[in-house]
């Protein structure tokens, strides 16, 4: 779960990481007032949960309250990567003499937290990592031992940070580490951490990504979820306990198991069409859950057919077939549905589905081919 910049900065402030003075605004007039309060020169920053805000024109420096109002009106009418901007952060402008990158994340390969720092901050750190890997310093941290003082010195030295900033830099690293641990973050990042013209270190941007699996420990952080900032279908999926990701194709997919769900999408693509979604209904397949999943898929008007792929291991195929029929009666889908149920009691399932509007398929390939053929009949 991603946090907005302003939410992340609120957390940074609690841990005494220096941030610019600033406040959140939901209207142009509010932004104007904040600009006056902050003394004129401010940065207006779109609050959306995607990267690339700057390039999209969502971060602008303004010099007067009038300009703040005008620019905020523009930004609040923008969509950045399909997400509408509902709030802006108004931060006092800071004079920058140097930009540093600082972040802590999970390193899957080393199975440890890793601290990443770079003297080339401010931009896309992945680009820096690819183009000039020598400008990136990485340091793994023992999760049982925590961050050590010598590691802070190591990292400061390896990004050529002048000694006069080491103490403050160390305080910021320790705070970031504490945030990463205390919040169960999978990423806690400052990009850029700037050295100001007055020789102070300030976190100009803030990004925290939380581990969804650890939210049970952090009800206060779970409350920060911005439902408006994510797609409707994904919110709904969470509500019904199914894992859903919307895609751009026209064949809806309903599958039990994440790996099998991906494989089902893959075969549609392999055969020359496009899946409309990823959907894992998880273990079992009660009619309630199938009906909820079906509604989710059908909410996308691009969907012209649904391919259901269920492997019955412990779940029995005949029970899944009954669940499907009940769900179809309830939802009354207007697109053809191809069902491929394999595993325990698949013969019984086939008999149950015979004579219904559901189309049976024996194999995954056959199921995908049938769904694609049906879609092409309707929409070549």
């Amino acid at each position: 779960m991603k946090l907005h910049e302003y939410q992340s900065k609120n957390i940074y402030a609690k841990y005494n990481i220096p941030i610019p003075r600033g406040r959140i605004a939901a209207s142009a007039s509010e932004a104007r007032r904040l600009c006056e309060e902050l003394g004129g020169k401010v940065v207006i920053k779109a609050q959306v949960l995607v990267g690339g805000r700057g390039k999209a024109g969502g971060i602008r420096l303004v010099k007067t309250p009038e300009e703040a109002e005008e620019v905020t009106t523009q930004i609040l009418s923008m969509k950045i990567k399909d997400l509408p901007v509902r709030k802006v952060l108004v931060d006092e402008a800071v004079s920058i003499s140097k930009e540093i990158y600082l972040g802590i994340t999970n390193d899957r390969t080393h199975q440890r937290p890793v601290l990443i720092a770079s003297s080339a901050g401010g931009g896309d750190i992945e680009v820096v990592a690819n183009q000039s890997p020598d400008k990136i310093a990485k340091l793994h941290i023992d999760p049982l031992l925590g961050m050590r003082d010598y590691q802070v010195r190591d990292i400061a030295l390896s990004i050529d940070l002048p000694r006069q900033f080491w103490r403050q830099f160390g305080e910021i690293i320790y705070a970031l580490w504490k945030i990463y641990i205390d919040c169960d973050a999978t990423l806690a990042e400052i990009n850029p951490l700037v050295i100001t013209a007055e020789n102070r270190l300030v976190a100009l941007d803030a990004k925290i990504v939380l581990d969804e699996n650890a939210l049970f420990r952090h009800p206060d952080l779970a409350d920060l979820r911005d439902i408006d900032g994510e797609e409707w279908a994904e919110t709904q999926g969470r509500k019904f306990g199914v894992s859903f990701v919307k895609l751009d194709g026209r064949i809806g997919c309903m599958v039990n198991g994440a790996g099998l769900a991906m494989a089902t999408m893959d075969i549609i693509k392999h055969l020359g069409d496009e899946p409309a979604n990823f959907l894992d209904i998880g273990g079992g397949a009660s009619s309630e859950k199938v009906a909820a999943a079906m509604r989710l898929i059908l909410a996308d008007t691009n969907v012209k057919a649904i391919l259901i792929n269920v492997f019955g291991g412990i779940t029995r195929c005949d029970e899944v077939a009954k669940g499907l029929i009940a769900a179809c009666e309830e939802v009354n889908p207007q697109v053809p549905i191809v069902a491929r149920l394999v595993g325990t009691n698949e013969e019984k399932a086939r008999m149950i589905l015979e004579g219904t509007s559901l189309i049976y398929a024996d194999s995954l390939v056959e199921g995908a081919e049938k769904a694609i053929a049906l879609v092409r009949e309707r929409q070549p």
Partner: protein, 286 residues
């Protein structure tokens, strides 16, 4: 011979009195797995599964009485790390953690702690191990595979079942199937299992089922080119997955530009691994 488990293994189930734990313990018993004990704090002294399996309050206590040497964990995610630590401290040789949704930080601490211990961990978020016709430690349906000479290792659950089932229909049998799980930080990885298959007399070839995210498949390819003499075929799920979106499994996400299916398929092919276009195809390739 099989890898990791055999019919001599003495299994303990952590979380045996919960719905999942009880159901799958019964399934394991049907498969003649030797379940010697269950653990459920506060329920020590009870007997479950028609009075066949004694329940203990702690793993330590269960081991003292029953000599269990492997544990299967079904406890809820918030208690899973503690259950693993407990099993490791009680000296288990093998721990299979079925639980899904364990916080990443918990798993990093577990992994760090286990570096100096001899216990092997499989999972979390995994279906466990099946030796067809012999023993199952986990939740892989017992009836979908027959004994044979093909080793199967996978990051997925139902996708693995699908492949086992296709093999069974093609009259091909499996030596051992290991589901290593879909989490980013986990116990055994592909290389650990491939190493075992390479040394296993009963295994003649291996099916590897990977997916997007991380670099487990890349490390496997490196190992295969360096040390594997047995043929390996593979399927990688997620060729149609968009970057930056988590596809169900906590570990199935293309981060930045790395971890794509195309990248993994290319590197596996470059070391001579045949990669299937779809899972059912695998049965015809071994």
């Amino acid at each position: 011979m099989s890898i990791l488990v055999n019919n001599k293994i003495r299994v303990l189930v952590q979380g045996i009195t919960g719905n999942e734990g009880l159901f799958h313990s019964q399934q394991m018993l049907y498969y003649h797995t030797n379940i010697v004990a269950g653990v459920s704090p506060g329920k020590g002294g009870d007997w479950v599964l028609d009075g066949k399996v004694p329940v203990f309050d702690t793993v330590k206590n269960a081991v003292e009485v029953t000599d269990a040497n492997a544990s299967v964990i079904f406890v809820p995610a918030k208690y899973a790390a503690d259950a693993i630590f407990e099993a490791v401290d009680a000296g288990m040789e093998l721990v299979v953690c079925i639980t899904e949704g364990v916080p990443v930080m918990d798993m990093m601490r577990v992994k760090e702690y286990m570096r100096t211990r001899k216990t092997r961990l499989i999972g979390p978020n995994c279906p466990g191990v099946l030796v067809p016709g012999e023993v199952k430690v986990g939740i892989i349906p017992g009836n979908i595979a027959v004994p044979g000479n093909i080793g199967v290792v996978s990051r997925s659950g139902t996708l693995t079942y699908e492949v086992l089932y296709a093999l069974k229909h093609a009259n091909k049998g499996v030596s051992t199937c290991v589901g290593i799980g879909g989490d980013p930080i986990k116990g055994m990885n592909f290389v650990d299992v491939l190493e075992k298959f390479e040394a296993d007399a009963r295994t003649d070839c291996v099916i590897l089922i990977g997916e997007i995210g991380g670099n487990d498949e890349e490390l496997a390819a490196e190992f295969i080119s360096r040390q594997m003499t047995k043929p390996v075929v593979a399927f990688i799920a997620g060729a149609s997955a968009p970057p930056g979106k988590r596809m169900g499994h906590a570990g199935a996400i293309i981060e930045g530009s790395s971890g794509t299916a195309a990248e993994k398929i290319a590197i596996l092919r470059s070391v001579g691994v045949k990669v299937a276009d779809y899972p059912e195809q695998l049965a015809g390739m071994v």
